[in-house]
């Protein structure tokens, strides 16, 4: 009589192996969640406004502004050290990589009513 609860022969190694694989998979998922790839966020310069005007991103993410208006726009930070996309004409894009956590307020140098905020986690 062979005990049903004690596998023998070549199947004896299966439970530890399955557990090991599951453990490694779980660790992989966890690691991926902790070091997710940088994302790209789009902001339209349209109707003399930044759309969306508020954006929440993660450190390392890239923000891309694209001008859809017929007049030029910039996205320029208020705080120092200042950065700017420079003047973008219709159809042009500019980008910024958010490397430091915090809140960034920015505006259009040409149209002072255009303002936006990026929250970097």
């Amino acid at each position: 009589m062979t005990p049903a609860t004690h596998p023998s022969g070549r199947w004896r190694w299966l439970p530890p192996a399955v557990l090991g694989i599951l453990a490694l998979s779980a660790a992989g998922v966890f690691l991926r969640a902790g070091t997710s790839s940088p994302r790209r966020h789009r902001v339209m310069m349209q109707g003399m406004a930044f759309q969306p005007a508020f954006l929440e991103v993660t450190q390392g993410d890239t923000i891309v502004w694209t001008n859809r208006d017929i007049v030029p726009h910039t996205a320029t930070s208020e705080a120092s050290p200042a950065w700017t996309t420079g003047a973008l004409t219709q159809g042009e894009s500019g980008r910024y990589v958010a490397r430091t956590a915090g809140e960034i307020r920015y505006f259009c140098e040409l149209h002072l009513g255009m303002r936006g905020t990026i929250k970097v986690r």
Binding site: M48, D69, P72
Partner: protein, 181 residues
């Protein structure tokens, strides 16, 4: 190729321009889309030329910056208008409204000529508020609703957004300088 139909330009447009002394006509005028395009290009050019004068004459850095923006933006709109006209195969056609605008612009320039310092800065901004307000009313009341060509209409709607932003910018500068200016 799109067809540009003649359109009637009602008195309301002329009234809007009259509000700032930009025109003195009292009768309705028949304008084609090609003539509407000419009015738009003329209105932009007038503001560009006045802004160039203001850049040289103004003393307040914010007023100089505003003038620079007027040059940049109105030049961009005119560039788009020229490109669209080329695409549609039309030449913007001179007309009585454009001529009236030019005459009024010349008078406005003459009024600003003797002014200097803060007096000039204030008068220039006041002129810009009145001018952009009148152009906005003309766009909303007549030019946009009566333009038959879809692409020209779209260009005017996009230009309207810039004109509205310019108006708010000029108003903000005037208000921020206060009555003591």
């Amino acid at each position: 190729m799109s067809v540009l139909y003649p359109r009637r330009l009602p008195v309301v447009l002329l009234s809007a321009f009259c509000a700032t002394g930009l025109a003195a006509q009292s009768t309705a005028t028949d304008l084609s889309d090609a003539e509407v395009a000419h009015v738009a290009v003329t209105a932009n050019t007038i503001d560009i030329e006045l802004a160039r004068f203001a850049q040289a004459r103004a003393t307040d850095p914010a007023v100089k910056q505003f003038a620079a923006t007027m040059i940049t933006d109105h030049s961009a709109v005119n560039g788009q208008a020229s490109a669209l006209a080329g695409k549609l195969g039309i030449t913007p056609r001179d007309n009585a409204v454009s001529q009236s605008l030019l005459t009024s612009a010349s008078q406005a320039r003459s009024a600003l000529e003797p002014l200097h310092g803060r007096a000039f800065d204030r008068a220039y901004l006041e002129r810009e508020v009145g001018y952009h307000q009148a152009v906005l009313e003309a766009l909303d009341g007549v030019l946009i609703p009566t333009t038959s060509n879809a692409e020209l209409g779209q260009l005017l709607r996009e230009a309207r957004q810039a004109v509205a932003a310019h108006l708010e910018h000029a108003r903000h500068l005037l208000a921020s300088r206060g009555r003591g200016w």
